[in-house]
């Protein structure tokens, strides 16, 4: 590295770095290496299902540490062990103990008798300011029902930077706001060449956020520790290339932990096929979560129910008979069959009106939107 201004050196000499410096490409990796050495000397093992999760497991107790670059959450049932860990870490690194979890990565964690409330209201306010939204108009839903957006709509924006930054911020906001997951998935498809129509759509999302700025995600303290999943697909919803949208959501007890809204990579020939592909990606997530929960000391004896509103895709999963209409479905999508057979998942039927994953596949009317938001246990926290 070139010697920094401010130190004396002979000309022609450079700094040979022995340690990583902030800004280098290797810096985060070097940090993880260093941290891993320290943490493994304290008896922690990195989880194979999330490399940033470190677990120390003894017969009686369990301590879990979740790392996000240089922020960490420590939890466990061994209070003495935790304080030992904190003092050991403080010896090796210069760090602050922020006490109980209040803020993590800009997410506010509030405590209430019913459980924890997660919200990013300050972040929403920052986004609104960045977008220079000055009026106070609000809308009830982030997207108009039956709205279709094409990449060729409208005139290209002269300066797409603002669009990109706002959409990027919205992606981060989905951490506690599953209600905008579907619309963010739509707007992020136009980041390459946004137009005025797409910007108007982003503004509508921002207006929706303005009206629901204090909405937060409730993690109930009284719920069980059972996984349940909902899987849904919207067949050929993309107006340009007829690809389908996968939507799934997974609950741990009553609390909402994982969701996805994503365009499928392959065109499906029928709605059954689209549902079947969605089931495969939901299965992957369920399997991962079961492993992760096992790492945290929670194991399941019975299969996880994956609710689906399509009878024929349930039939395909149950029945491995070779069929003319399923012959082109790739082998990897038959993952669902495998896990069904091994008892990892079960496939109960749910009517479409109660299908919660429907929320992540299409635009809804106001009443249906509110019904589904309520199902996700999203509450409006009092301004605090």
């Amino acid at each position: 590295m070139a010697p920094p201004p401010g130190i004396s050196h002979d000309s022609g000499y450079v700094c040979k770095l022995k340690k990583a410096l902030y800004g280098l490409k290797q810096a985060p990796r070097a940090w993880l290496e260093k941290f891993s050495i320290v943490i493994s000397s304290l008896g922690f093992v990195s989880s194979s299902h999330d490399s940033a999760l470190f677990i120390k497991c003894t017969d009686a107790s369990r301590i879990i540490l979740s790392l996000y670059i240089d922020d960490m959450i420590i939890t466990g049932d061994d209070i003495d062990g935790i304080s030992v860990l904190k003092t050991e870490l403080a010896k090796r690194f210069e760090m602050n103990d922020l006490g109980y979890l209040r803020y993590f990565l800009g997410i506010k964690v509030a405590y209430s008798p019913r459980g924890y409330l997660l919200s990013q209201s300050k972040y929403v306010a920052d986004i609104l300011e960045r977008a220079r939204l000055t009026d106070n108009k609000t809308v009830n839903t982030p997207i108009k029902i039956n709205a279709r957006y094409f990449s060729s709509d409208g005139l290209p924006l002269i300066d797409p930077t603002l669009y990109c930054t706002i959409v990027g911020s919205l992606v981060y906001l989905t951490i506690t706001r599953p209600d905008i997951a579907y619309v963010v998935h739509v707007v992020s498809q136009f980041v390459a060449s946004p137009t005025t129509v797409h910007w108007a759509f982003v503004l509508r999302i921002l207006r929706y956020l303005q009206g629901t700025i204090f909405q937060s995600l409730l993690f109930s303290s009284t719920s069980s520790l059972e996984l349940r999943a909902y899987s849904d697909a919207d067949h050929s919803s993309d107006p340009t290339n007829c690809k389908s949208v996968t939507g799934f959501c997974i609950f741990l007890g009553d609390s909402f932990i994982s969701w996805k809204s994503k365009k499928q990579s392959i065109v499906s020939q029928s709605s059954t096929e689209a549902e079947y592909r969605a089931m495969a990606s939901t299965t992957k997530e369920i399997v991962w979560l079961r492993w992760l929960l096992a790492d945290m000391g929670i194991s399941f004896s019975h299969p996880t129910p994956m609710y689906c509103d399509n009878q024929s895709s349930i039939q395909i999963a149950h029945n491995s008979v070779f069929h003319e209409r399923t012959m082109h479905i790739e082998i990897d999508y038959h993952l669902t069959r495998h896990h069904l057979k091994h008892g990892t998942i079960a496939l109960p039927f749910v009517p479409s009106s109660l299908q919660i994953a429907d929320f992540f596949t299409k635009a809804h009317s106001i009443s249906r939107f509110c019904f589904l938001v309520g199902k996700l246990l999203m509450l409006v926290a009092a301004a605090s």
Partner: protein
């Protein structure tokens, strides 16, 4: 005359305002706009007359949706009014004193508050509260971002608010634009924000190419010449009064420098850099060696940041040395990268498990 123009003359009953709705509505609009003009830039209400005149000249030249996107001015005269001559109401300005007032040695300009546009000819009405004189002149230098009545007389009354207003004395004109927009947002209470930005028609295209400090020569009446602007690269303190100069100087040390050249002039930043360097030496971060042949050097730079406490007071001056990692090439300078980032689903799961197992 009315009969000649086929107009019927009607008289409303006394004390029955609702019979004259159109005129009353217009009056209300003008008075409300003038009130927000006054309060947004802290102009005392004795200047209400000037504010009303300014309001009228503004509303006449702003395009309106009632007249299909044309301004009243444009409808009457058939050409687009010259928006470039508009200035922010209540801002600070310097007016060239007339010959009779100035001698060879007295100051050539007076610091005034901008109060509106002269009628007919292109000229500005500016008031000097010290001498209680109203100047109507076209030789005016504007500091549009500084509301005249927000300049403190002493530096003791420094508040965070003042900093936001006057913080854009950096010479970087791209910063000025964003500050300008923010100052519009902060100065105007709800409602007037739209008014001022529509005055400028398009605040971005209007402000962007110029520095915030400009000398404007208003165009003569008939021509539609684009106004000249002279960017002054070096900011001279000498054109201000002594109290204002010390005020600017006090802001200057709170400013975060963007380069080593700027920071080395300030002992506070120098100390911060020394601390960082000694910390790096203590951990043996590097060795000084001759450059091996055939290799490239990664640059580095200082980043300066003021760490503030939650109440806004300064906690410490922090200087950080960062490497310019963007010039590194994959395979040559580094092989693998990885950041230990927890998955959000993991974090959510962890919180729930911790909550329920409590």
């Amino acid at each position: 005359m009315l009969a000649l123009n086929e107009t019927i003359h009607q008289i409303s009953c006394t004390d029955t305002l609702e019979q004259n709705g159109v005129a009353k509505r217009k009056h209300k609009h003008i008075v409300e706009t003038a009130r927000s003009l006054l309060s947004s830039v802290f102009v005392p209400s004795e200047f209400w007359g000037e504010a009303i005149f300014t309001t009228i000249s503004l509303t006449n030249t702003i395009p309106s949706s009632h007249s299909s996107g044309l301004s009243l001015f444009e409808k009457l005269y058939g050409y687009i009014p010259d928006y470039s001559s508009f200035r922010v109401f209540g801002c600070t300005c310097f007016v060239l004193r007339p010959h009779v007032e100035r001698s060879n040695l007295s100051s050539r300009s007076a610091i005034c508050v901008f109060l509106g546009y002269g009628e007919g000819k292109k000229r500005y009405r500016c008031f000097d509260p010290i001498t209680q004189k109203l100047y109507v002149s076209r030789h005016v230098v504007f500091l549009e971002h500084i509301p005249f009545f927000s300049i403190p007389s002493t530096t003791h009354s420094l508040t965070k608010y003042d900093l936001i207003c006057i913080d854009h004395f950096s010479e970087d004109s791209s910063n000025d634009t964003s500050f300008y927009v923010r100052s519009i947002c902060t100065h105007n209470s709800a409602g007037t924000g739209t008014l001022l930005s529509s005055t400028l028609k398009d605040p971005f295209s209007f402000i962007a190419p110029q520095a915030s400090f400009e000398i404007v020569d208003p165009p003569p009446r008939q021509s539609i010449r684009i106004h000249k602007s002279t960017k002054l690269p070096d900011f001279a303190y000498s054109c201000y009064s002594s109290s204002f100069t010390s005020f600017l100087a006090s802001i200057h040390c709170i400013f975060e420098p963007s380069s080593y050249k700027e920071a080395i002039l300030d002992p506070l930043w120098q100390q911060a850099m020394d601390e960082e360097l000694s910390a790096l030496h203590k951990t043996y971060t590097w060795d000084l060696v001759p450059l091996p042949p055939g290799t490239s050097v990664v640059g580095c730079r200082w980043v300066y940041k003021i760490k503030t406490n939650s109440d806004g007071s300064i906690e410490r001056y922090k200087a950080k040395l960062v490497a310019k990692g963007y010039s590194q090439q994959h395979g040559m300078d580094y092989k693998e990268t990885f950041a230990p980032v927890a998955k959000m689903a993991t974090i959510r799961t962890l919180i729930i498990v911790a909550l329920i197992c409590q």
